[in-house]
């Protein structure tokens, strides 16, 4: 245990410390900064109304009856409005696989919490767009 070996240990420790200082932190400043989700992430859905043919395959395959369709509500020729109940959805991905017309997709948006239970039932206005209210904190605007 000479003087130099102790000094060497000190430098070892300092080396690790400095490396950590200049590294990116491992944590994210959530919710203002989001983790990068993989492409296949099964988050909330998006409904592309132009392609929809109201074939009800997504409604039939859903194991938890989370999807409700309204055939009267037509925006294009043969589409329908979908209501997603995210209090029931288990994000299994069967509805997206059942859709043959490229009208239903998962998005990497997974933060769905709401203040009210009824807000979790996504109607046509919410399920067809990814726009969300801007998030403000200390005068800065995120999202």
């Amino acid at each position: 245990m000479g003087f130099f070996s102790v000094l060497g240990d000190c430098f070892q420790i300092l080396k690790h410390t400095f490396r950590q200082v200049f590294k990116r932190p491992f944590t994210y400043f959530y919710p203002f900064e989001d983790r990068i989700y993989p492409e296949r992430t099964r988050g909330r859905h998006i409904h592309v109304r132009e392609n929809c043919t109201a074939c009800a395959q997504c409604v039939r395959i859903c194991p938890v009856v989370a999807i409700r369709m309204d055939k009267e509500d037509k925006m294009y020729e043969k589409d329908c409005a979908l209501y997603f109940d995210y209090t029931r959805c288990i994000f299994c991905g069967l509805c997206v696989q059942a859709c043959r017309f490229e009208a239903l997709f998962h998005t990497p948006v997974v933060d769905l919490s709401e203040g009210d239970r009824d807000d979790l039932i996504y109607g046509p206005d919410k399920i067809e767009t990814l726009d969300r209210d801007p998030l403000k904190w200390r005068g800065r605007r995120f999202r």
Binding site: V59, I67, M69
Partner: protein, 175 residues
């Protein structure tokens, strides 16, 4: 493990039938055999399984509701050194059918028998501990896995799709 000591499924079936002629066998594949056992002989057969296959592993016991008070009770044993899967099938009848308990031969079967009792209403005679296993007390005697136990399965009316039209019967006139 030497090959000479392994037992084929057909050999095992024959040795059981030689001792108990009431049993019939049904070869499922090379390593799987099904024995159809009358309810009164179940203890003898399980005893034989224990004797013939020294490393028999009791995998499970469960009931199958065939409706109209017909039940099948299925015992599954696995012997790894013989690569042999034995499936015993017992046909039972009646509102609350009864059968002898076998959990003194294989202690591992005790829980399965308790579960079968609460789910199907099949009584096991001489069972040391016939309490409810999984169900809450208020479901005692409801026998949830019987087919006549109705559960509110259909929420089809909530989905907004048209209910399926009943199929026209064959030979009938279509409207």
């Amino acid at each position: 493990m030497a090959d000479t000591s392994t037992m084929k499924a057909s050999t095992f079936g024959r040795s059981v039938i030689n001792k108990l002629p009431e049993v019939t066998s049904n070869l499922l594949s090379d390593s799987r055999i099904e024995l159809v056992v009358p309810a009164s002989k179940i203890r003898d057969v399980v005893q034989l399984v224990d004797e013939e296959l020294s490393d028999a592993l009791p995998e499970s016991v469960f009931g199958v509701d065939l409706q109209n008070d017909q039940y099948n009770l299925i015992y599954i044993f696995w012997s790894w050194s013989n690569r042999l899967l034995v499936q015993l099938r017992v046909s039972l009848e009646g509102e609350n059918p009864e059968i002898d308990s076998t959990c003194d031969i294989f202690p591992g079967l005790e829980w399965h028998e308790r579960e079968t009792r609460e789910m199907f209403g099949i009584e096991f005679r001489n069972h040391p501990d016939p309490r409810l296993l999984l169900l809450p007390d208020e479901l005692e005697g409801a026998y949830p896995l019987r087919k006549r136990f109705q559960s509110d399965l259909s929420r089809l009316d909530e989905t907004g799709i048209n209910p399926p039209k009943p199929r026209p019967k064959e030979g009938g006139e279509q409207k």
